[in-house]
């Protein structure tokens, strides 16, 4: 509340005749800082922007990054103490090893599934958190929990918090862009990139390749000359109106918003013009892969880099979508046919993501960009009774981060021998976001917005920075 008021006061300091450019800064650009009149982070930041990769459906830690030799040994045996366990879809059977081998990768010799050969190259840069926990075992609330810190819908997503705290580094693109998968939106849909009760300008703008922003283009029936004449007439109307009602900064802000819109119309199509990239780059990402799902995700990876390069603060890149009738087909929700499902999903994630990270590294972008890989929960070490898949597990999952401010080649926390529960340095989603905000120069307890009786935070009333994965 106080911050909003400060901000309003700030706006009111302007008298008439201020150049539109200065207002543009206030509205949509670098000078925008809603959380504090200073517009500065709370302490010196290590990272300036974030790429969040999200694998919806509950990506199995046990078949990707959390190596459990004991699970391999006891494959087919009952899980000690867990014989009668009932999870999300029902009863569980015996322990089930991962269908794939884990192999040592990098200098650190970190075990990674053989199904992610490319991502395995990057382990020395990654900081893993193996002891993640969440509060629900249901996809919809869990996705919202991962992205907003609350199981309820209606709270702002992390990207919106950062847009609110730091604004964008450019006037010409939104501060926060969400890129849903070609297969569709994730569970809970736009609630994953909502601004919740934060001002609407902090909403994640959903990009797609054909039209980066809805209504960006002028309708085809309107020719260039007509557009110019209309906008010049509109400018006259707005000027006259403003002259009649001086002293209302909101009216000036509105005029500025039209100028900004015009600039966005020029720059947003440019950012999604992937054809400007070299053939070598396209092959590196795999945008022309014969598997259309790999190609589509690779294009989104390339688009992500272009957005981040041009000053977008937060890119939220989805790899998979909601379920649709068949578990595990469209996302990482491998209830019944783990092997077939992950042989479909892992190659989509693997090469394009690796290419994106390596490309960013090559360009020096990882100096001040943070990359995080997330999912909403993990999976059970047992097979779901009568199936060859795994049920949901909110008590253990893995995420990783790399790039600016992150100590590569580290692992924080651990699960038990089978990966059923997080037992060492148990980490919450609030800890995870507290750490990310910390890297961006923000104290998670100070980044607040008043709503319905509380100074709300991304980290609710919890969260501790995970110090040992910081460089």
């Amino acid at each position: 509340m106080g911050d909003v008021m400060k901000r309003r006061d700030f706006l009111l300091d302007f008298s008439t005749g201020l150049p539109a450019l200065a207002l543009a800064g206030l509205l949509g650009g670098g000078a925008r800082a809603a959380h504090a009149a200073s517009g500065k982070p709370h302490h010196a930041p290590k990272a300036k922007r974030v790429l969040q990769i999200f694998c919806p459906g509950g990506a199995s830690h046990l078949d990707t990054f959390d190596y459990k030799p004991e699970l391999e040994k006891r494959d087919g045996q009952p899980m000690p103490g867990g014989e009668k366990e009932v999870s999300f879809q029902g009863a569980n059977g015996n322990l089930m090893r991962s269908p794939w081998k884990f192999v040592r990768r990098g200098q650190t010799g970190k075990h990674v599934t053989e199904l992610l050969p490319h991502l395995g190259e990057l382990v020395d840069d990654m900081a893993f958190v193996h002891s993640m926990t969440t509060r629900t075992n249901t996809h919809g609330p869990a996705c919202v929990m991962m992205n907003t810190g609350f199981v309820f819908e209606g709270f702002p997503s992390a990207g919106s918090w950062l847009s609110y705290a730091l604004g964008a580094e450019t006037d010409e693109l939104p501060a926060y862009v969400a890129i849903p998968d070609v297969r569709g939106i994730p569970p809970s849909g736009p609630a994953n990139w909502t601004s919740g009760f934060l001002p609407a300008e902090h909403q994640g703008v959903a990009f797609n390749a054909s039209e980066p922003i809805q209504n960006l283009r002028r309708p085809e029936s309107i020719r260039d000359e007509e557009e110019k004449a209309t906008r010049s007439f509109l400018a006259l109307l707005n000027r006259e109106h403003q002259a009649r009602y001086p002293g209302n900064p909101d009216l000036q802000a509105r005029i500025a918003s039209y100028e900004l819109a015009a600039r966005m119309q020029l720059s947003a199509p440019e950012v999604s013009a992937l054809e400007k990239e070299s053939a070598e780059t396209h092959d590196f990402y795999g945008t022309r892969d014969s598997n259309p799902l790999i190609a589509a995700y690779a294009k989104n990876c390339l688009l992500s880099r272009r957005l981040l390069e041009r000053g977008v603060r937060y890119v939220q890149l989805f790899c998979a979508s909601r379920a649709s009738g068949v578990d595990g087909l469209l996302n990482w929700d491998a209830h019944k046919t783990l092997k077939a499902d992950y042989e479909r999903h892992c190659p989509i994630l693997d090469k394009p993501t690796t290419a994106l990270i390596r490309d960013m590294k090559r360009r020096g972008m990882l100096e001040d960009t943070l990359v995080v890989w997330t999912t909403e929960f993990g999976r059970m070490p047992t097979h779901q009774q009568g199936t060859l898949g795994r049920d949901h597990n909110p008590d253990a999952f893995t995420v990783w981060m790399l790039g600016a401010g992150v100590k590569g080649g580290t692992s924080h926390g651990a699960t038990d021998d089978f990966g059923r529960r997080s037992v060492e340095n148990v980490t919450t989603i609030h800890d995870f976001w507290a750490t990310i905000l910390h890297l961006l120069g923000l104290n998670h307890q100070k980044l607040t917005f008043y709503h319905n009786g509380l100074e709300r935070r991304l980290t609710d009333v919890h969260g501790h920075v995970i110090a040992d994965i910081l460089a």
């Binding site: 509340m1 609330p141 209606g154 009602y245 199936t387």
Partner: protein, 938 residues
């Protein structure tokens, strides 16, 4: 560092031991204690006392008494590891070091300091108090008439502010029309009002607007924000609630009819009780379940309890915040940190609502129910008789059934199975294999295999075979999900599904004529579905072969197979077991039951509304430690909040009393004449919508974290007004909009602006931007296409499809069926239409007592380029041609009159003429709809 040490050595004896201790312990108090205290022992460490610090935590002693500066406490601080994420600034670091060097003097234990907070003496929990408005001899006449103005004027004078002059008539009619109806007035109405010289012209206008249907739509929409009303479940599946609109209509109807608010509270919490048999009232309980609800089931016990607790939390929050302005949900895990709301209060309220469940409910008049029962009763009776007779026959034969079960079943072939169904036949040459399912293939097929005698599957695509299905399900969101290619891809993971459950056939064409003798198929070869879909399976089939695809030879069918379901198998055994004479009776009864069941289905079901279901709770409510559903501490009875114990009597409902009594008691307590919160909160909401800002700037939080009232006496005057008017809103609306404060100019005044930029003291009328809905409705209205039809199912701005989860495809072309007021939009959660979302229409997942108003380039883009606005610019252009004829100047004048309610200025007229002559009327209309003047109420 050196300097500091010397300084301390010199100064210590002078400033004394207490100050030396203070220098260090105050830092620990400030920087460490919030995490390291006796209740919240991070790392098992408390730093409340010297002993505790020496005792240490998980990582060992924090203070080392033999080497203070080598203490863990110092190491952590020096390395910047503590406090986590917030390292000590150099000056504090030096002070801490100096304190340690001085031997860490620490005699007085520390305690986490209680934060400032409200207790029961907080202003909003006090009884309403009427203080006569102070007399202000210097006040202009129009500011001395009403009580409202006298309160405001007196407050204004304390800040050295003066009111603005009255606004002109054109400004006033536009302002009050938007405020009370959300729609612009017609140019003819403006003209008539300007000409009306009667002293009560404005009052007559207000009366007319308050009586209009549009008032209910405008103010109903405000309440729907507070009630977090949405028309889909939200979360992953997000299915539509196609029968939730009745609540929206109830809200609009109630506001329109000026139903007393205490009655509205009662109906929303207990309409099923007080309006039994009266659907117009009963539907109001939809308020309780208007929030999101996760429809994905769950088998895990903790998760089931959590889902239920979260549903109730949403109801508690909506009820407490909406009616009382209390953040009761902050007491879910512990006592409220700022307000006198106990941890137990949360669970008292939970107990009051614990009979409410998310569901739709039959809501009908007694007449409708009787008529339905008159039709259904005889059928139900016949059905029950037939079942009874069947049962007695079956029971008599029980012994014989056991005896002959095995041999009877042995006469049949094994049933079809989702895991594998096979048919073997004498080798025959074929090019085409056709599997027909006359009753459909509900379980789908993951693979069909055709084998040669040497067990070679020749049906696979890789072997050159092709497959065709007579129908295939293609969900729009994922058209390939059930593709026929799954039938012969050699994998058992994905299934082909037919479109619907009618007759279907699948044909495999082999690359060449081949000798074959076996066909196999399955719907769940891997057993992944755990037999859950045994019943949904292809049961009846005919298998045919052909050499040319035209002449077919049947080689196998489902005839002679046991039915897959156990009770169908039992039926076969029973028939064999019955004496011949009873067999006929048995068959006849079975037929009759099937017929009666069909007849019962044919009677149209009674209408339902998503208004919740009510059941007596199976167990009492428990106080949960830390809000953890698995950590029950003690039983809590359904009762009122202790918060208001000082001003009114509370209540407790016996846990054995019918569930409905709890909700009635809650409603009566909320609207009790001594409850000071409800009328204050309501009056403040009204003020908030009239002036764009409440007297309390946090309309759903009257606690410590909320704002204090800018005009407490005025607030109590308005709240008492609600009591005085018998909880009717319209007389209070009238009092407010008749005030001089409301009728003053909105013009800026630099001097006043410097003192009170936001005009909290109402030295001017604060200009407001139209709400998202008012903007869209105004565009429709000015374009002359707004449909007048009110109520009923909402219109959609998306295409809706369901395939387990719901998918909403935003439309980019809208027909006239969508040209209705925005309050009638079917409001699916998360799926806000672009234009409305960008202009700050809330998502309705949480109550929204106060919309944020933003300005962004995305707003400009949607107002410039969306197909809706272009269509409306065209309709607007057509309208002015229709109404003003062919003369360009007349057209322009008409357009300005409709959009801005005024004549164009000379410069505007010249430029408009130029624009219209070169690019037509549409270009000008598009500009007018984008103009600030169109969007702002001054």
């Amino acid at each position: 560092m050196l300097v500091v040490r010397r300084f301390l050595l010199l100064v210590l004896p002078v400033i004394g031991a207490a100050a030396a201790e203070e220098a260090g312990t105050s830092l620990i108090q400030k920087r460490c204690l919030s995490c390291h205290n006796s209740t919240q022992k991070m790392g098992s460490l408390s730093l409340e006392s010297r002993e505790a610090a020496v005792g240490g935590g998980k990582s060992g002693p924090a203070l080392d008494t033999s080497n203070y500066t080598g203490s863990l406490l110092w190491m952590k601080v020096e390395r910047g590891e503590m406090p986590v994420g917030n390292p000590l600034p150099p000056a504090e670091r030096s002070a801490l070091r100096a304190w340690l060097e001085a031997g860490a003097p620490w005699s007085t234990p520390l305690a986490v300091q209680a934060r400032a907070r409200a207790d029961k003496s907080w202003w909003s929990f006090q009884p309403l108090k009427i203080v006569d408005p102070p007399a202000s001899p210097d006040a202009p006449t129009e500011w001395s008439r009403s009580a409202i103005d006298r309160y405001l004027y007196a407050a204004m004078r304390t800040k050295d502010l003066k009111p603005s002059p009255p606004a002109d008539k054109r400004t006033m009619i536009r302002r009050v029309a938007f405020d009370l109806t959300g729609l612009p007035p017609l140019p003819e109405e403006v003209e008539a009002f300007e000409k009306d010289q009667r002293p009560n012209a404005y009052e007559a206008l207000v009366d007319r607007l308050l009586a209009s249907k549009a008032y209910g739509e405008r103010w109903g929409r405000h309440w729907l924000d507070v009630a977090r009303f949405g028309e889909s479940h939200g979360y992953e599946q997000n299915h539509l609630r196609s029968n939730a609109w009745q609540y929206r209509d109830w809200v609009i109807r109630s506001f329109h009819a000026d139903k007393p608010f205490d009655q509205m509270v009662l109906e929303q919490l207990a309409g099923d009780v007080v309006g039994k048999g009266n659907p117009d009232i009963e539907v109001a309980t939809a308020f309780l379940v208007a929030g999101p609800h996760d429809t994905v089931g769950n088998q895990a016990e903790a998760a089931k309890r959590q889902q239920r607790a979260d549903d109730l939390d949403d109801m508690i929050n909506a009820t407490a915040a909406g009616f009382l302005g209390l953040t009761v949900n902050c007491a879910r895990c512990h006592d409220h940190k700022f307000d006198p709301i106990q941890h137990a209060d949360y669970y008292r309220m939970q107990a009051l609502l614990s009979g409410v469940h998310h569901a739709e409910r039959e809501i009908v008049t007694d007449g409708e129910r009787n008529a339905w029962e008159a039709k259904a009763k005889p059928v139900e009776q016949a059905l029950s008789d037939a079942r009874q007779r069947l049962k007695s026959i079956t029971e008599k034969a029980a012994g014989r059934v056991t005896e002959i079960r095995k041999e009877t079943l042995a006469k049949y072939r094994p049933p079809v199975s989702p895991r594998l169904t096979e048919e073997t036949f004498p080798s025959v040459e074929a090019r085409f294999v056709r599997l027909s399912a006359p009753a459909g293939a509900p379980g789908g097929i993951d693979e069909i295999e055709v084998f040669t005698r040497d067990n070679r599957n020749v049906a696979q695509r890789t072997a050159g075979a092709t497959v065709r299905a007579s129908s295939t399900r293609t969900p729009e969101a994922n058209p390939e999900a059930y593709s026929e290619t799954h039938l012969n891809d050699g994998k058992y993971d994905q299934r082909w599904f037919a479109d619907g459950n009618q007759a279907v056939h699948v044909t495999i064409e082999l690359p060449e004529a081949t000798m074959v003798n076996r066909v196999a198929w399955s719907s769940d070869r891997n057993g992944g579905f755990m037999g859950r879909f045994e019943a949904a399976i292809l049961r009846e089939y005919v298998l045919e072969l052909s050499a040319d695809g035209e002449v077919w030879t049947k080689v196998a069918s489902s005839e002679g197979r046991l039915p897959p379901r156990k009770d169908d198998q039992e039926h076969i055994v029973l028939l064999a077991a019955l004496p011949r004479e009873e067999r006929e009776t048995y068959r006849r009864l079975r037929k009759e039951i099937a017929e009666q069941e069909a007849r019962l289905k044919e009677i149209p079901a009674l209408p339902t509304v998503y208004a919740g279901q009510f059941r007596q709770p199976e167990e009492p409510a428990f106080l949960l430690k830390g809000g953890n559903v698995m950590h029950r501490v003690e039983q809590v009875a359904p009762a009122s909040l202790s918060t208001l114990d000082g001003v009114m009597e509370g209540f407790t409902v016996s846990p054995d009393a019918p569930e409905s009594e709890r909700r009635v008691a809650l409603a009566r307590w909320i609207t009790h004449s001594r409850n000071p919160l409800t009328p204050r909160v309501l009056a403040n909401r009204m003020w908030h919508y009239h002036f764009g800002r409440g007297i309390v700037g946090t309309p759903s939080d009257f606690g410590y974290n909320g704002e204090k009232p800018s005009h407490p006496e005025l607030l109590d005057y308005l709240a008492s007004g609600l009591h005085h008017y018998g909880w009717r809103l319209k007389p209070l609306h009238k009092e407010i909009v008749m005030s001089a404060a409301y009728r003053q100019s909105g013009a800026y005044n630099e001097q006043a602006g410097r003192i009170d930029a936001e005009a909290r003291y109402l030295w001017r009328f604060p200009p407001q931007r139209l709400s998202a809905e008012a903007l869209r409705d105004s565009i429709l209205s000015v374009a002359g296409v707004l449909q007048e039809d009110a109520g009923g199912p909402g219109f959609r701005l998306y295409k809706y499809t369901v395939d387990n989860v719901a998918t909403y495809f935003p439309l980019d072309k809208f027909g006239p069926d969508t040209y209705r007021r925005s309050v009638y939009l079917q409001a699916a959660r998360s799926i806000r239409p672009e234009l409305l979302a960008q202009y700050d229409c809330p998502d309705s997942s949480l109550p929204e007592p106060k919309r944020v108003v933003t300005t962004s380039p995305l707003q400009a883009l949607s107002l410039l380029n969306s197909s809706f606005v272009i269509d409306m610019a065209e309709a607007f252009a057509a309208r002015i041609t229709r109404e003003a004829g062919e003369d360009t100047e007349a057209q322009i004048r008409r357009a300005f009159a409709l959009a801005f309610l005024r004549e164009p200025a000379p410069a505007e007229l010249t430029d408009a003429k130029e624009l219209v002559s070169r690019h037509g009327l549409r270009a000008m209309c598009r500009a007018l709809l984008n103009a600030t003047e169109f969007l702002w109420v001054m």
